[in-house]
Symmetry: C2
């Protein structure tokens, strides 16, 4: 009944229903999969664009996001924002405060901002974030900004589920650009140098462009989702190899902004449009979407199986019975897990 009310509210585009649906999904409460199944049939096939915004803490991603919202609103586009809070338990507080101010500032009914805490969503944060994004898409937002503070692999993965990924750096990042872990620089479709009125902006631009030049000449651009780039040395001849990813042919622009003053934001919006047109013209959107859904289905299956195993009373009983043996060293966790898995396989845990 309550679930029905949420579904009806979503149909009528009531923000309150959206907020409740999101909470349901975020906490995986009873019925959340039914809501998502319902929403899935209503996803727009085109029209909504998902834009990932990531970068190190302090790069000004929130300010940039606010400016993008303004730009999109001036085009009468409806904007949803999913902001993934940092996993860092040591820096979380202050950033969360920022975020709450931002949510409060949003009184425009055509803007919906939702923060997601990483705490409590262990292991499944990427999936849950995508599910919340689906809710926003089904609700009819034209642009969805996925802002991740980018302190962990998960946050990168989330940014990467967007059609276009924006990596926000600041001049101070220049010193560290060489030490960035492999895979970080390669995810971006668009680079933003924010706070570009500070010293070092030109140097950072050069460094990025040098790196992009190197990338053009080798297979480094191929970064399969969720896999580290191949450790082999770059070889110019690799370019023609089958490892070239669909994005080949797009030259990532480097855009200077001063988000606090709104400078460069119009250029960023233009670059976003250009990238979308590029994806669409090359027929790349459909392929991306299909891969995303395949991966989502696998993730949902994994979650369902885990849930089932942890709830299967016979698995838990067997585990408890074997625990003395494990504690005494007579059996190992691996033997016991193998025994239970055997029972799973034969359907004995049914």
């Amino acid at each position: 009944m309550r679930l029905e009310a949420i579904l009806e509210g979503l149909e009528r585009r009531e923000p309150a229903a959206l907020a409740r649906a999101i909470s349901l999904v975020e906490n995986q409460r009873d019925g959340f999969e039914r809501v998502l199944s319902h929403v899935h049939a209503r996803l727009r096939r085109g029209g909504t664009r998902r834009i990932g915004i990531t970068g190190p803490p302090g790069a000004g991603k929130s300010t940039l996001t606010e400016r993008l919202i303004q730009q999109f609103r001036s085009q009468e586009l409806r904007v949803g924002v999913v902001a993934v809070d940092p996993t860092s338990p040591f820096t979380g507080g202050a950033l969360l405060g920022d975020r709450i101010r931002m949510e409060a500032a949003s009184l425009d009914p055509n803007v919906f901002i939702r923060s997601m805490a990483t705490r409590g969503a262990r292991g499944g944060l990427a999936t849950t974030t995508e599910e919340v994004t689906d809710l926003l898409e089904a609700f009819g937002f034209d642009r969805i900004l996925l802002e991740t503070v980018g302190v962990g692999q998960t946050e990168l993965d989330i940014a990467r589920t967007a059609e276009t990924t924006v990596l926000v750096l600041v001049p101070e990042s220049g010193d560290g650009i060489q030490t960035l872990k492999a895979g970080v620089m390669e995810i971006a479709d668009i680079y933003v140098i924010n706070k570009s009125d500070r010293p070092g902006a030109d140097k950072l631009r050069q460094e990025i462009e040098v790196m992009l030049g190197i990338r053009q000449g080798n297979a480094f651009r191929h970064v399969a989702p969720h896999h580290a780039p191949s450790p082999r040395a770059p070889r110019p001849t690799d370019r023609t190899a089958s490892t070239v990813r669909p994005g080949e042919g797009w030259e990532p622009p480097v855009i200077a902004t001063v988000a606090s003053r709104g400078e460069g934001v119009a250029e960023l919006v233009q670059a976003l449009d250009r990238h979308y047109v590029y994806l669409e013209a090359g027929g790349l959107l459909a392929g991306r979407r299909r891969r995303r859904l395949a991966q989502r289905t696998r993730a949902v299956l994994e979650r369902a199986v885990q849930h089932w195993i942890s709830e299967a009373t016979r698995a838990e009983e067997l585990l408890q019975r074997r625990l003395d043996d494990v504690t005494d060293g007579r059996r190992s966790p691996y033997d016991v897990a193998a025994e239970i898995l055997d029972q799973v396989k034969t359907g004995a845990l049914r």
Copy 2:
């Protein structure tokens, strides 16, 4: 055969065999579970102490770890270190450099230092880290330091698998102590204020002590593993409630150190000894160990089931067959996952 050689090498305490066993486990290569099963039977029941060291980046954890190694070595104890590198792709490089220097510096055969990258071990890092720790324990190390850079929930979880958890802060942390996410301050058995010759050390000590005072008076100390603390307001009467955790009765000391000069490190070692005696006297070690093994068995089972599902050709076939429906919106990932799970349950995927 190769596996046999590793097992024999472990028996003979050959460091090369240990290094190979760790690589096997870290990368979950064929046979890794057999190695772990073998090791499990050889885990020492007592004698080895696992010490978790966590804290924000820049707190000086590596330096402190080096000093602890020196202290333990002066007591002729054999020391293993598992250092979990930051998940942050934006700051990883520099810290990894530090670590490599530290590994190179360790020429003492009674000291073994191993870094673990978080990249690539997604979802299972806590389990893998514990497994590597088991290898070190079976190899005969007396003290095992689990150093985590503490930028994520996973790193906290890892620190928490130790018998004693040390939280390292610096005077600069004082400003942020109020904003630390719930659950961070509560995990520590021992607080260290490192770089305590800097301004603000006294203020930080006071803040920690005030917080500890508050904690003594309410149920806030109860932090169930992997669960956020209850959001309800602290009530003094809660102390007698069943939510009091086994650690109740231990008053976490606050120790000032200047690790770079070795100051305070002897006091820290004494505090570590006191905490271990406290755990042992209260019969708390056995209970912790049992809970840890139960949880490990569950994690290993989850991993095994996931692996099986992802390798089950019939599950993947079914998923691929349904993908067109999902892409077209006729079926949702949730319907398809439910269908496959049904087949798992009935043993049809056997």
